[in-house]
């Protein structure tokens, strides 16, 4: 057997057994945010663009799924697809405006656009204002799979998130991913070889937005809730934190980052506002001391051992 597959098989075993040991809703929350962080990482790690507006895709999709399932009575799978589609369209709009900018300008424009989405969600009737959209029914998937059973829901969420991971992996290692890499390495050279760099960045942005939307949609199914927290700028900050803590540009980094941050929030919740302070401290420490993130530092350490 291929030895490189071993860690993946172990992880899969852990993921399958986990809901018997840990509270499934907590695990599903971790999965949703791990997907969100990986989607974000596709952009920051493989295109080199820092978006400060990913909450718009996450939260926007959460609202769309919530509304279409609860108010229109759509089946869950249709609600998820609607969330992804709207997130992709939002991504296309954001990208079309921001993609030619770089660095801090790109971050500022995405932040500004996502604030517009936030205020829209705050004002619009259908989002339910401060209350959000609550008690979203968990309609059976494809009319047969009962999502009211928490364990079933967990395995469905796991399957969807793993497929999304696979798509991200595939994208990074595809002909498209190869061109993305060349653009990140030396954009003028890639352009001089005939690649219209903005188009490639835009597609990466839309993919990242769509997958972030899937994460948000899943979250609204799991918690049966979509609220302003999902579209708020803090959500954009949180995903940056997860990605940096785990290690950007690594495949597993964002997953580890999500696990760390969500676990911390969960166990430190009794401390109230102090969670934010602790998060801030961790953020500063990571940026200053572990620039490659947890996974990045570990793999650097392993390759030093081997050398």
């Amino acid at each position: 057997m291929d030895r490189r597959l071993l860690p993946a098989i172990v992880l899969l075993g852990v993921a399958l057994a986990a809901p018997f040991i840990v509270y499934p809703v907590f695990l599903m929350k971790v999965l949703c945010f791990a997907l969100f962080a990986c989607a974000f990482n596709l952009l920051i790690g493989y295109v080199g663009l820092v978006s400060f507006g990913h909450a718009a895709f996450f939260g926007g999709a959460a609202y769309i799924t919530a509304y279409s399932v609860k108010v229109w009575g759509w089946p869950t799978e249709a609600g998820l697809l609607a969330g992804i589609a709207v997130a992709a369209l939002l991504g296309l709009a954001f990208g079309a405006i921001a993609i030619r900018r770089q660095g801090i300008y790109f971050a500022m424009i995405t932040l500004a656009l996502s604030q517009m989405v936030f205020f829209f969600c705050l004002q619009a009737k259908f989002t339910g204002g401060e209350d959000g959209i609550q008690s979203i029914p968990r309609r059976p998937l494809f009319g047969v799979i009962d999502l009211k059973n928490e364990l079933t829901l967990y395995y469905v969420v796991l399957a969807i998130v793993l497929s999304a991971f696979w798509l991200i992996y595939r994208t990074v290692h595809s002909p498209f991913g190869q061109v993305l890499k060349s653009i990140r390495e030396n954009e003028p050279r890639a352009v001089s070889l005939g690649y219209r760099a903005e188009h490639y960045k835009l597609l990466a942005f839309v993919l990242s937005a769509a997958l972030s939307g899937l994460a948000g949609s899943l979250k609204s199914v799991v918690f049966q809730l979509a609220s302003l927290t999902d579209v708020q700028w803090q959500m954009s900050g949180e995903v940056i934190l997860m990605t940096l803590v785990g290690g950007l540009g690594t495949i597993f980094g964002p997953v580890v980052g999500a696990v760390v941050v969500i676990t911390m929030q969960n166990y430190l919740a009794p401390l109230g506002e102090w969670v934010l302070v602790i998060q801030g401290v961790i953020f500063v420490v990571v940026v200053l001391a572990f620039r490659r993130g947890i996974v990045g530092e570990i793999s650097a350490w392993l390759s030093r051992l081997r050398a």
Partner: protein, 253 residues
């Protein structure tokens, strides 16, 4: 049509201003198809700026550019590359963390038309390996294919850059100081390579190394302070009093 034009690349009144400073002023450049055309001039004369204008990396303040008889003044940089006008850079431009083979494959890949396919495995690119190996062998770096481009010695990076450019099968090659930073041995090798690849193509190159210019070029354009100072074959231009003064004046040999 393409075969009918005498000048494959032509500019009229090409001008570029940077915030009040005129880097290129009213340049009328004519590059004859099938020749090696050198552009020389002291540092800061505007040579790289002209290249950036020709390849659309900069938008001219005034003037027009024709390539193969069609106007490309408003084209986008990626599009002129698709038309066969391909440049290299003054500072060697490779993709450092890709392998030498992957560097060339990037250039070959565009024609497959799968460059937006994010759902396919990159294994579909393996079909390009044979052609990529041939191109690397052609510029004398066939044995280095598995190295990361960053780990190549500088002279070999130049060769890789040329192989990558040739992968596009360009009509016109624009080389910005291909000999810069090269040792004696590499200069001989790269200049032989340029002579060889120039067969059936047009080459426009910026170069400070006068013996290379003398040896390779059919025509020389001398640029000074953004304007054309002299033009003609080496023997003529090198005797031109204004050219000698321009070079002596700035300490160039």
């Amino acid at each position: 049509m393409a075969g009918a034009v005498e000048f494959i690349l032509e500019t009229q009144g090409l001008t570029k201003e940077f915030a009040g400073f005129v880097a290129v002023r009213g340049v009328n450049l004519q590059v004859r198809a099938g020749t090696i055309h050198a552009m020389i001039g002291p540092n800061g004369a505007g040579k790289t700026t002209v290249f950036n204008l020709l390849t659309k990396f900069l938008i001219p303040t005034a003037g027009r550019i024709h390539y193969q008889g069609r106007e490309i003044t408003k084209a986008r940089p990626a599009d002129v590359a698709r038309l066969g006008l391909v440049r290299s850079f003054q500072i060697s431009a490779v993709f450092p963390h890709l392998t030498v083979l992957e560097n060339v494959r990037i250039a070959l890949q565009r024609r497959l038309g799968n460059s937006f396919h994010f759902w396919r495995s990159e294994a579909v690119l393996d079909g390009l390996n044979e052609r990529a190996h041939a191109l690397l062998a052609d510029v004398g770096i066939g044995d280095f294919w598995a190295l990361r481009a960053a780990d190549l010695p500088y002279g070999r990076k130049r060769a890789l850059e040329i192989a990558t450019t040739l992968a596009l099968e360009p009509e016109v090659l624009l080389l910005d100081e291909p000999m810069a930073g090269l040792g004696h041995e590499d200069i001989g090798r790269i200049s032989a390579l340029i002579r060889r690849v120039a067969k059936g193509r047009t080459v426009l190159m910026v170069e400070h190394n006068m013996s290379v210019v003398a040896e390779l070029s059919d025509t020389i354009t001398v640029l000074q302070r953004g304007e054309i100072l002299a033009e003609g074959p080496y023997g003529e231009v090198s005797r031109d009093a204004r050219v000698i003064e321009a070079y002596v004046g700035t300490g160039h040999g």
